[in-house]
């Protein structure tokens, strides 16, 4: 399994953001690939093929990746390699990660298994011992969607496979908010049994709870989650009211950001939507788009994976 430990020094009374660094083999692989992509990719593929047939041990592949790196340094000079690597990394510092070879992917209901991994993060403080721990189920999946110019509808892909969305509307579990895990599990399994693969959480209800998302992770229901804007109440109802949404836009964005942090690690979370039958006020909508855009690093990485797909 994957285990990594990093040393972190945190000044007194302060708060910082920390990203786990990559394992070396990735470093070398990427640099190799970025230095001479066609040769690099061909050799990579060949090695994966050997690993896939059990001829080559994964560890050997990784270390040979590192050997390649040293050979390249010899051929092209360390600075060139370092330069290429820095180019690849970009200045967003987001290029740090744990490496998995052919992990079990998470699939929506009806497309495959909902494979989940336990991610466990702990922090030990020198002179104290274990200070805090956090764990979460995590599913490896890539969800893409775009508006189809021909039909105007939104098309979804999961792990590169197009998916026909069969979904249902969800208001909430109980009108008086008597929420329970048992009821969430029953309701969500029911949707899976009805052969649905998406649940849309209506903007006049709740930002659903981690228990709701947990069972959507388990049963493979993608979730379309709306923020708290509805056409009827926010500018399109009878009488027309609140054309500029809630009074306190900063409070709305604070709640939206905290909700995203609460729910963002669930593999079932597929789409954030501004509201029901209404676009939020411009300042809120723009802020949400900025907050929820794909991090620039992943834009770059799509380029790399695209180039490798082109190559393949």
């Amino acid at each position: 399994e994957h285990l990594q430990t990093q040393h972190v020094s945190i000044p007194a009374g302060s708060q910082l953001q920390y990203t786990f660094p990559e394992c070396n083999s990735v470093n070398h692989q990427i640099c190799f690939q970025s230095t001479c992509p066609k040769l690099g990719y061909a050799i990579q593929s060949w090695m994966y093929w050997l690993v896939g047939r059990g001829v080559l041990l994964e560890g050997v592949r990784v270390s040979s990746g590192m050997q390649f790196h040293y050979v390249l340094c010899g051929l092209f000079g360390r600075n060139v390699i370092r330069e290429r690597l820095r180019d690849w990394r970009g200045d967003n510092g987001m290029n740090l990660q744990l490496f998995f070879y052919k992990p079990d992917l998470w699939w929506p209901n009806g497309m495959g298994k909902q494979s989940l991994y336990n991610v466990h993060i702990t922090i030990d403080v020198k002179g104290y011992g274990e200070s805090d721990a956090w764990s979460n189920l995590f599913g490896f999946r890539k969800i893409e969607s775009h508006i189809d110019s021909a039909t105007g509808g939104r098309l979804f892909k999961v792990n590169g496979q197009p998916i026909f969305i069969r979904g249902g509307n969800w208001i909430l579990s109980d009108g008086l908010l008597r929420l329970s895990k048992k009821r969430y599990e029953t309701d969500i399994k029911f949707h899976a049994d009805m052969n649905f693969n998406m649940i849309r959480c209506w903007g006049g209800g709740l930002a659903e709870r981690p228990e709701f998302y947990h069972y959507c992770d388990i049963y493979g229901l993608l979730v379309w989650q709306e923020f708290w804007i509805t056409g009827d109440v926010d500018g399109r109802g009878v009488p027309v009211s609140n054309p500029n949404g809630p009074l306190d836009h900063d409070l709305f964005l604070l709640c939206a950001r905290d909700t995203v942090k609460l729910l963002r690690n669930h593999p079932s979370l597929a789409l954030w939507v501004g509201g029901n039958e209404q676009v939020p006020p411009d300042d809120i909508n723009e802020a949400l788009k900025v907050d929820l855009r794909l991090h620039p690093y992943f834009e770059n990485s799509n380029e790399i994976s695209k180039s490798s797909e082109d190559l393949s």
């Binding site: 009108g175 509805t230 609140n242 609460l262």
Partner: protein, 266 residues
């Protein structure tokens, strides 16, 4: 030393209408704690009970204690006074409980509708407005050394509960839209209005014990290459050092596959 981790406060909660309680929050959590479910105090519906429910809205507690009829049957909702007619005070409620702890401790509310004042052992902390936000209060300094702590929470309804026109309609008079709260509570074509607009501690309450350094909101993202053969997991987290010295830490991440069937990891 108690083990680090999070514990739900899911037992022994009491609730009472604020206009029927003469004591202040400081008195409730020092000299005059309620002794049990005797008037005006009721047993509050709590998380982790048989139905696994979370602490609910005020109305759910009143229904549970049969103070009001269940609004989901017949026209019984018409027999419950609406907040527009009763005023916000009528649905402003105290929630009270006790817990044992004396460590680096955070008191966590995963959802309060709509704002609240928290009293712990006589000390007051204000919980700001907003239904869809978490609150984590560092209460380490105000815990009782003997571990017996008294907690009282005064929960206020949304600022704009609105009123329900005779013809009903989608979202009543739409006033609730001025707040950052769920909007169906003013009634919709498929739903009668909720009389208290779901005021209350509507999601989990817990206490978490940590050492000097706390992990906050890790973010996990995966990226894919080579047709999903080569996959990377990016993990970012916030770390808070609440001690008065530099903390030298080992930060560990472990990823294990979920075990299936009757296989167990040793």
């Amino acid at each position: 030393m108690a083990k680090i981790g999070t514990t739900r406060l899911d037992s022994g909660w009491l609730a009472a209408r604020s206009t029927e309680v003469s004591h202040s929050g400081t008195q409730l959590t020092t000299t005059h704690p309620p002794s049990g479910p005797t008037s005006p105090w009721l047993n509050a519906v709590v998380p982790g009970t048989a139905n696994g429910g979370l602490i609910d809205s005020v109305l759910a507690t009143l229904v549970e204690n049969k103070v009001v009829p269940d609004p989901f049957y017949g026209l019984q909702n018409e027999m419950i006074i609406d907040i527009a007619d009763s005023g916000r005070e009528y649905y402003t409620f105290w929630f009270f409980t006790t817990f044992q702890r004396n460590q680096h401790l955070d008191l966590n509310f995963r959802g309060i509708n709509y704002s609240a004042e928290v009293y712990l052992n006589g000390h007051k902390k204000v919980v700001p407005k907003g239904m869809f936000r978490r609150h984590s209060l560092d209460v380490t300094d105000i815990l009782h050394p003997d571990g017996q702590n008294l907690l009282a929470v005064l929960v206020h309804p949304p600022d704009h509960p609105g009123s329900i026109p005779p013809e009903g309609g989608q979202g009543g008079d739409h006033e609730i839209g001025k707040d950052v709260a769920t909007q169906y509570v003013q009634g919709w074509d498929w739903m009668a209005p909720i009389r208290d607009r779901n005021t209350g501690i509507w999601d989990e309450v817990s206490v978490s014990i940590t050492g000097p350094v706390k992990i906050i909101d890790p973010h996990l993202v995966s990226s894919f290459f080579d047709d999903y053969k080569r996959v990377y997991l990016h993990a970012t987290t916030e770390l808070e050092n609440r001690s008065s010295w530099v903390a030298e830490c080992s930060l560990n991440i472990q990823v294990t596959t979920g075990v299936e069937g009757n296989i167990c990891l040793v």
